[in-house]
């Protein structure tokens, strides 16, 4: 089955007989194609005792197949100038690369072999374990990572799929062997949970035919969905510090459980987040904490509306002497948004920004591929880019104010501070 829409991006979308979804979009900017191959195999799939399994699998899946040892894969990628990246978020593991158009068929064939027939050789697993352990140790020396991961653990619980460390710990990674990686692949990397997006200077139907050739013979029922409870919204204010006295600057992660992506209030939250902590270098937060008080090089807010209510987070990096002032200023800006809502001018400017920045967001192959993959994951439709302006235009000031009242309560904020700071 193939569908396409006219106007906007108008990608061509096909569902292969094995359930895999393939989306292709022609873009003639460069003689190259970006490939974004995603699976429903993110870190929420990790068993608690094997936290970090999805991440570990993403770093080993391309280290050898039944017919290609790791060095052959390396050579096939490198001689085409292709850098294959793997990305793992809570729900998705993705393989992402860009190749010249003349290499598309060969690269698709190589990717198909990698995801269909990985062997996870013991020696490669041992080497990659060392890399993962080093990454975990680096995270543990990074106040920004420690504050953010600490916030997620406090918001959702350390055993929840959103609260666990995505890379796991030295202990859990040490317990993951090749057998566990093979089981993870067998259970989670399947055509029924696959979405392939291709964007570049290639005929979309031709690209879909090439994908069918590469992946069409793969069989496997969709994976069982992962059960995830919603986080329990905090009823009191919680503050935790992670002392890292060898550092020069403290990182603040301040947040709440937010909303689902499917929540009707999503577009009001999107605007609220832009006004609060993004527009013109950090929105209201940036204006207060960076521009007027000179306390931080960066301060911003981020909304991750997801399959369950994801976090709405404020982040800032400040001198340890300014931590208390910065937290008080975040409180003040949230209170102000909660009390008065946005101004009409803020509504107009942020709405215009979000709508009129779309041509820029969708200029590059990488940008288009990421957008289409997100639209596919949340079931937003192939015409989503065309509908966004109307969805944002329909949001009222009262709806944004209601979103602020619903979530931005400093009295129920969860705050984690990592760095050379101890609470007095």
């Amino acid at each position: 089955m193939t569908t396409s829409v006219s106007g906007g991006l108008a990608p061509v979308r096909a569902v292969l007989d094995n359930g895999a979804i393939v989306t292709a979009k022609r873009s003639t900017t460069t003689p190259a194609v970006t490939i974004h191959l995603g699976f429903l195999a993110g870190s929420v799939c990790d068993p608690p005792a094997h936290a970090g399994l999805a991440h570990f699998a993403s770093r080993t899946i391309d280290r050898g197949t039944a017919i290609r040892p790791a060095d052959v894969i390396a050579e096939e990628l490198d001689r085409r100038g292709v850098s294959l990246s793997t990305m793992v978020n809570r729900h998705v593991t993705a393989l992402i690369c860009t190749c010249l158009i003349e290499d598309l068929d060969d690269v698709l064939g190589l990717l198909a072999d990698i995801v269909m027939h990985p062997v996870f050789p013991d020696e490669e697993v041992a080497t990659k374990r060392g890399e993962v352990v080093t990454l975990i140790r680096q995270d543990e020396d990074n106040p920004a990572v420690m504050a953010t991961e600490g916030l997620f653990a406090d918001l959702y619980g350390a055993d929840h799929g959103y609260g666990r460390r995505p890379r796991g710990s030295v202990e859990t990674v040490g317990a993951i062997d090749a057998g566990a990686l093979r089981r993870f692949h067998s259970e989670r990397v399947r055509p029924g949970g696959m979405s392939l997006v291709m964007v570049g200077d290639v005929d979309p139907q031709q690209a879909i035919d090439a994908a069918r050739q590469a992946f069409g013979g793969w069989t496997g029922a969709p994976s069982a969905p992962v059960e995830l409870s919603d986080g329990v919204p905090a009823s009191v204010r919680r503050v935790r510090t992670i002392p890292m006295m060898n550092k020069a600057q403290a990182d603040i992660a301040y947040g709440f459980t937010g909303i689902r992506r499917s929540d009707p209030a999503y577009y009001a939250y999107w605007l609220m987040n832009n006004i609060l902590g993004q527009y013109a270098i950090g929105g209201r937060l940036g204006d207060s904490i960076r521009e007027r008080q000179g306390m931080a090089y960066y301060v911003f807010s981020a909304l991750d509306a997801n399959l369950i209510p994801g976090p709405l987070m404020v982040r800032a990096g400040v001198s340890p002497t300014n931590v208390d002032r910065a937290v008080a200023s975040i409180d003040e800006e949230l209170e102000r948004m909660r009390a008065d809502g946005p101004t009409d001018r803020e509504m107009t400017e942020s709405r215009q920004y979000l709508i009129w920045s779309m041509p820029r967001t969708l200029e590059t192959n990488v940008g288009i591929a990421s957008f289409l993959q997100t639209a596919e994951f949340f079931g937003l439709g192939t015409d989503y880019d065309v509908r966004i302006p109307g969805l944002l235009q329909a949001v009222t000031r009262d709806e944004v104010h209601a979103a602020a009242r619903r979530t931005l309560n400093p009295e129920t904020a969860t705050i984690v501070i990592a760095g050379p700071y101890t609470r007095t």
């Binding site: 490198d78 140790r137 600057q249």
Partner: protein, 423 residues
């Protein structure tokens, strides 16, 4: 095709029509960077860049950052060793507004004393954020040791003591000296009509007065006489090794063979400071990856030679895998480097490196922002015309040239070794 014109005040204007998207990108480049700083004023170029987002005669301070975003646009700026630049990309009907912003920035920034003070702590916060990262610290310290005379030794963000003592008059004086049209190149690329774009540039910039842009002479870096070493011992969890070799400037015939040599050692990165380094290099079959990562000694490697006006550094950066002593990692890294220094590269390696670099040139030109960046960037270090010759100059590199540059550059007397040892 790129159209070049000069206004009467000396402003060089480059316009390239690209009708792939309904967008226009403007970059305004100044030939001033941390190379132009004297002791006591290190970091002034970067701080001036920050101040130039703080309001002008005709753009109130609180409107500066939203003036382009309210039309969906992107804006930014950066300062490095040879240049400072400002950019906006937005729908092409906002071109006039983008040019207005840049003309205001060139001639009419305010430097309110209170804003200067407020920005002092923002920049110190930026510096401290960098100090949180051991690799940033190691890079800064290694560069300061590798150069003894040339101002490339200063970190672009400056030394803390200078940031604490610099005055508003220091900043404003520096701004007025360097932000003049005859020290700038304005690039416009995208969905524009060349004649109309040039007329708009003339309208906005034509009345700005030129200045005296006589540059003070720089002390060339003397030839290094022996290996230099530094060891940073700080709290941390991970050990890092960095090697720095004095490298050719972009105008040196050895630059492109060195670029190929880096591709063979650590994978091709391309030459777009703005775009290429956001995409990891194809490096799984690179020599140092195989020798150090595949063997489990390092968890990550990187290498880089960046086009610069004067000779800068070729660096190799290594993250020691947990449990690997730095001495063992260094021995293995230097062993692999000595191999290429002694025996050069093979024809197959040359072919692969050239193909990788060609692909990177394609990938890094995926947006009008990136295309416009390259014209301006190269104009601050050499000539914008170099951009069109990149592919042929890379394709013209021979195994003999790479062997010569490896033998000449990758020896111990040209090397600085940096360790970060976690305590």
């Amino acid at each position: 095709m790129v159209e070049e014109v000069f206004l009467d005040n000396g402003l060089r204007v480059l316009v390239q029509e690209l009708h792939t998207a309904p967008l226009a990108s403007v970059w305004c480049w100044y030939r001033v960077g941390s190379r132009d700083e004297t002791t006591g004023l290190t970091g002034v170029s970067h701080w001036v860049e920050h101040m130039n987002f703080k309001g002008t005669t005709n753009i109130p301070r609180d409107k500066v950052k939203g003036i382009i975003e309210q039309f969906g646009g992107y804006w930014n700026g950066y300062t490095w060793i040879d240049q400072t630049t400002y950019t906006e990309t937005a729908t092409s009907d906002a071109l006039d507004r983008m040019l207005f912003i840049e003309a205001e920035r060139m001639a009419s920034c305010l430097y309110d004393p209170a804003d200067c003070e407020s920005e002092r702590t923002v920049i110190i916060s930026e510096l401290q954020g960098g100090e949180n990262d051991p690799e940033t610290m190691l890079d800064q310290e290694l560069t300061a040791v590798a150069f003894t005379a040339h101002p490339y030794r200063h970190p672009t963000i400056g030394w803390l003591s200078d940031l604490q003592t610099m005055t508003r008059d220091d900043l404003y004086g520096y701004y007025r000296r360097h932000y003049v049209p005859n020290n700038a190149t304005l690039v416009v690329a995208g969905d524009v009509e060349t004649r109309e774009a040039i007329a708009a540039v003339e309208r906005h910039f034509g009345a700005i007065t030129p200045g005296d842009v006589t540059k003070r002479p720089l002390t060339p870096e003397p030839e290094q006489a022996g290996e230099r070493r530094i060891v940073l011992s700080r709290g941390g969890t991970t050990a890092y090794l960095k090697l720095g070799y004095h490298a050719p400037a972009v105008t040196d015939a050895e630059f492109f063979p060195m670029l190929v040599l880096d591709a063979v050692l650590t994978g091709a990165k391309g030459v777009n400071l703005w775009a290429s380094f956001r995409m990891p290099p194809p490096q799984r079959s690179a020599r140092l990856y195989r020798a150090l990562v595949d063997t489990g000694l390092a968890s990550a490697i990187g290498g880089g030679i960046v086009p610069t006006a004067d000779p800068f550094l070729y660096t190799v950066s290594l993250t020691a895998a947990s449990g690997t002593p730095l001495a063992r990692l260094e021995e293995a890294a230097l062993g692999a480097i000595d191999e290429v220094r002694t025996h050069g590269i093979t024809d197959a390696e040359l072919k692969k490196a050239v193909h990788q670099l060609r692909a990177r040139l394609v990938f890094e030109n995926d947006s009008i922002t990136n295309i416009a960046h390259q014209l301006g960037y190269f104009d601050t270090i050499d000539s914008w015309r170099t951009v069109a010759s990149l592919e042929s100059r890379i394709a013209g590199v021979t195994v003999e040239q790479v062997a010569r540059v490896a033998a000449k550059r990758l020896n111990a007397t040209n090397r600085t070794v940096g360790w970060f040892e976690p305590q």
